[in-house]
């Protein structure tokens, strides 16, 4: 079924075809306001899905902490490299 053609800018990421990816990326708002708005949107989505519920579980907070742990490992990798057991892998 051919839907009514939607302009690229309004499509969500998963609906964008590979060939249109660059043109889709150029339509996005990368100004500071746009970035802050995007961060707020992401935060609202996560908050309303995992935390702002009547019976939330451990997952909402645990995923944030796990992400923090992984991110800090990635940032520290250059320092942790020196603890490697073997030089050649």
């Amino acid at each position: 079924m051919a839907d009514k053609p939607v302009p690229i800018a309004e499509k969500r990421l998963m609906d964008v075809k590979l060939g249109e990816l660059t043109s889709w990326a150029t339509t996005k708002d990368f100004s500071p306001n746009g970035i802050i708005a995007a961060i707020r949107r992401g935060h609202d989505r996560y908050y309303n899905k995992y935390i702002n519920v009547k019976k939330g579980g451990i997952g909402g907070v645990a995923m944030l902490l796990t992400g923090y742990v992984l991110l800090s490992y990635v940032w520290e990798y250059d320092h942790i490299k020196h603890d490697r057991w073997r030089k050649y892998h």
Partner: protein, 231 residues
């Protein structure tokens, strides 16, 4: 469980944000102004599903059609082995610390999780009950005000009946007054007429009486004369 405590404290910080906003939205829906989201949609019961505490369920659903149930686990195992063998993840003293902390955290969550969840639920319940109470009191007082207003309107209607009764009273008084005066007039007229009749009767009777007296007198005189004449 921690999310629930986060929600409790966040709501307290936002001055009962979601609940207060819900209350305001619900009361606004009583007016007829165009509002979107009126009444405010309730909070979802449960959050997005998360497996083993840290992996969202969406990953499992994503891989299920192609690899079945064990797909994500095989992916995890392979990933782990790759990280270890290529030493992208380095095993050092921090690994031991992380493992110890992880064990303690998991044990604590498994053991105290349900209790903390119950506590957070109880706190939420109390907040909801308090807000609900305020709303109920407000609604009751407003409903009572409406009922009293209606009663006042009914009373205002009743004033018409009051005016009718008063008008009837006044009409009655006027009527009785009028009839009293009419009676007075008739009585006075009757008295005068009776006086005239009595006068006439008297005159007639007096005449008759005097003639009768004359006749008896004459008869007596005649008898006396006859008696004298024969004597």
């Amino acid at each position: 469980m921690l999310s629930r405590l986060v929600l409790v404290s966040a709501s307290a910080l936002k001055s009962s944000g979601a609940l207060g906003a819900g209350l305001v939205q619900a009361s606004r829906s009583l007016h007829s102004s165009p509002q979107s989201l009126a009444p405010m949609p309730a909070l979802p019961e449960k959050g997005g599903k998360v497996r083993h505490g840290i992996i969202p369920e969406e990953l499992f659903q994503l891989l299920y059609p192609k690899t079945g149930v064990t797909g994500p686990y095989m992916l995890g195992t392979g990933l782990l082995l790759y990280l270890l063998s290529k030493e992208v993840y380095v095993v050092n003293h921090e690994t031991f610390a992380a493992a110890s902390i992880g064990i303690v955290i998991v044990y604590g969550i498994k053991k105290f999780g349900p209790d903390v969840a119950a506590l957070a639920d109880k706190l939420n319940e109390e907040k909801v009950a308090k807000a609900q109470e305020v709303k109920d009191v407000a609604m009751a007082s407003l409903a009572q005000a409406i009922a009293e207003e209606k009663k006042e309107q009914w009373r205002a209607e009743g004033r018409q009946a009051l005016f009718d009764a008063k008008r009837n009273n006044v009409a009655n008084l006027l009527e009785t007054n009028h009839r009293e005066r009419v009676h007075l007039v008739t009585n006075e007229v009757k008295k005068r007429l009776d006086y005239q009749i009595a006068l006439q009767h008297l005159a007639r009777n007096h005449g008759k009486q005097s003639i009768a007296k004359c006749i008896t007198d004459l008869k007596m005189l005649a008898k006396a004369r006859q008696a004298k004449a024969t004597a």
